[in-house]
């Protein structure tokens, strides 16, 4: 039986561990922390499984590989909701909606009354929109917890410790999934800061993620159930520490308020900030150096691309199949 150590229990590490375990490997998962939490970038994710929408700015592999995500997560957890996603823009920014429709696939146009019928709490504020019927969303924290619990229940070993990938690789196959913490070994990895917040607003009901297009600050809102909503996310180049700017909050909250003024009375439950690990083309990479495999650069597509990344890591380890997103490190 192939034995593999996976370092990092964020979304990448958990998916890699799960896929390897399902394919018969003996898996040890190593992380500094005992449970998934705020130390991991994926803790702050929106949890949208929206490959078509991402096609607006992402390259083709994101759309194609991301199409695997909803089925994978639905098979592994009960956290997935398949209600599609909705894209709207204020009347004055209609050009942005036309552009979005042009650059993406898998959508149908919606009229004002259709939007109101789908999401009554949007009222009659929007007269045009797009429905991406095949997209889904999940509750990211519940999904991380579920994955970790099922891994342990199914026989993976979990060790809470600080790990040195190079040292572990001398003892056997090792997959480094530490995200931005692996920066020392991946000089072309950069951080793209994102700020988000969670609101509690029982007065409003939405049943699917909604993207509001705006030339300066495109923002999405994801319903988390029980009157909770996640709003995200800013995109700032540079790993700008953990401080949240007033401007970011202003942009996020004004968007919520524009969707439904009832959000003005919402309780701010949580404010979050972290850095997404990204390579220059914003696509993930798998790099192999002997016994050490580094899988990183999921950028803003953690939950969307981790299943495909994990499949490719497993194909590489178990069948020596070169991953689509691989590049070699100079020895």
């Amino acid at each position: 039986m192939t034995a593999v150590t996976v370092i990092g229990a964020g979304v990448a590490g958990l998916c890699v561990a799960r896929t390897l375990l399902d394919r018969g490997a003996e898996v040890t998962l190593v992380d500094r922390h005992a449970t998934p939490g705020s130390h991991a970038c994926s803790w702050w994710a929106g949890g949208m499984l929206a490959p078509n929408c991402e096609g607006e700015s992402a390259e083709e592999p994101v759309v194609r590989l991301g199409a695997e995500a909803a089925d994978w997560w639905a098979a592994q957890t009960d956290c997935v909701q398949r209600r599609g996603s909705l894209v709207v823009s204020p009347g004055r920014d209609r050009a942005d909606l036309a552009r979005f429709a042009r650059l993406t696939t898998g959508h149908r146009p919606l009229t004002g009354p259709q939007i109101t019928e789908m999401e009554p709490d949007l009222g009659t504020r929007f007269t045009r929109g797009l429905h991406f019927e095949n997209e889904a969303h999940l509750a990211p924290r519940a999904a991380l917890d579920a994955l970790r619990d099922s891994l342990i229940a199914d026989g993976a070993t979990f060790r809470q410790q600080e790990a040195d990938p190079d040292a572990l690789a001398t003892q056997g196959l090792t997959v480094d999934c530490r995200g931005f913490a692996a920066r020392d070994a991946l000089p072309d990895l950069r951080g793209v800061k994102g700020e988000m917040l969670i609101l509690s607003c029982p007065d409003v009901t939405l049943s699917r993620p909604i993207r509001v297009l705006h030339p300066r600050v495109p923002i999405y809102i994801v319903p988390r159930g029980d009157g909770m909503f996640m709003l995200g996310a800013t995109m700032v180049e540079g790993r700008a520490g953990r401080h949240v700017t007033a401007r970011a909050m202003l942009e996020l909250l004004s968007t919520a308020y524009a969707l439904n003024p009832a959000f003005g009375e919402a309780e701010v439950v949580e404010i979050g900030v972290d850095s997404r690990p990204a390579f220059p083309d914003n696509l993930p990479r798998i790099r192999r150096d002997g016994n050490l495999i580094r899988a990183n650069g999921l950028y803003r597509h953690g939950f969307l691309l981790a299943p495909a990344l994990a499949r490719m890591v497993a194909d590489l380890i178990l069948h020596d199949k070169t991953p689509e997103v691989s590049d070699e490190i100079a020895a």
């Binding site: 700015s57 992402a58 390259e59 552009r99 042009r102 650059l103 950069r190 951080g191 800061k193 030339p215 700032v236 180049e237 540079g238 790993r239 700008a240 520490g241 401080h243 700017t245 990204a278 220059p280 083309d281 914003n282 696509l283």
Partner: protein, 257 residues
């Protein structure tokens, strides 16, 4: 070609670095554009702890002149602080000065602009002011020490092109020796050609390339358009006239009086 504070540029293409799908696509767009200047905006938050370093290194690697800007600043104080930060980070006296006066049109606050330009010039900056085509404001900016003017074509990111050809032509005619750059509002390469045909020295754009479906191809299209306009301008275009002038000889044709 007129020089910009003593620097002669290989061409009049200045390209912004914001809103691209990825840094890799940004780099490819620059490669195909042949642009000689990259503008880059500095968020005050990332300037403080140099948090944007990774991204700025990517911009530096483009190997072109860097023109930092004070995008999104709404007051003189904000713009001056940002300019100082930019000078430290990019080690250049160049600064594209933006003082925004109105949120919907992102129209410059020309009063604040003149004041900030004076403060920065006295402090050794070489200021590229984002202004309107207003002649009086242009004059005040030159008084404040600016040696380059950057009038808008139309509002930032609108893609409406050159909204006031008459005003832009008058500006060119009034300041024949000042380097003039069309900054903002260009959406299509044909508009860049027109700007160069009017005798402008350069164009600065960002959204038209970054938000195109294929940014690198659009960057190249703008480069070609720029070249066409520049060449046309130097070729001494014909004068338009109201009546037709036959382009083939009429001798030998029968005239009916």
């Amino acid at each position: 070609m007129r020089d910009f504070y003593g620097t002669t540029l290989a061409n009049g293409f200045m390209l912004g670095t914001a809103q691209y799908p990825s840094p890799a696509i940004l780099a490819e767009a620059f490669r195909r554009s042949g642009a000689s200047v990259a503008t880059v905006s500095l968020r005050r938050e990332s300037g403080q702890d140099r948090a944007g370093q990774d991204f700025w290194n990517l911009i530096r690697d483009l190997g072109v002149h860097i023109l930092p800007n004070t995008a999104g600043c709404h007051s003189v104080k904000e713009a001056v602080t940002t300019a100082h930060m930019a000078r430290e980070v990019f080690d250049t006296p160049w600064i594209k000065l933006e003082v925004i006066g109105e949120e919907d049109t992102l129209q410059p606050d020309v009063f604040g602009l003149v004041e900030a330009a004076r403060i920065l010039t006295e402090d050794g900056f070489q200021v590229f002011p984002y202004t309107t085509e207003d002649l009086v404001v242009a004059d005040r900016l030159l008084d404040a020490g600016c040696e380059v003017l950057m009038p808008w074509g139309s509002p930032i990111g609108s893609g409406l092109g050159l909204n006031n050809i008459f005003g832009l032509r008058a500006l060119r005619a009034h300041f024949p020796d000042v380097p003039l750059v069309i900054d903002a509002g260009l959406g299509l390469p044909s508009q860049a050609t027109t700007a160069m045909e009017l005798g402008y020295d350069a164009i600065l754009l960002n959204t038209a390339v970054a938000k195109a479906g294929d940014p690198a191809a659009m960057a190249e299209a703008f480069a070609l358009a720029l070249k066409a306009g520049k060449l046309a301008q130097s070729a001494d275009p014909m004068e338009p006239r109201d009546m037709a002038a036959p382009s083939t000889p009429v001798i030998g044709k029968a005239f009916l009086e």
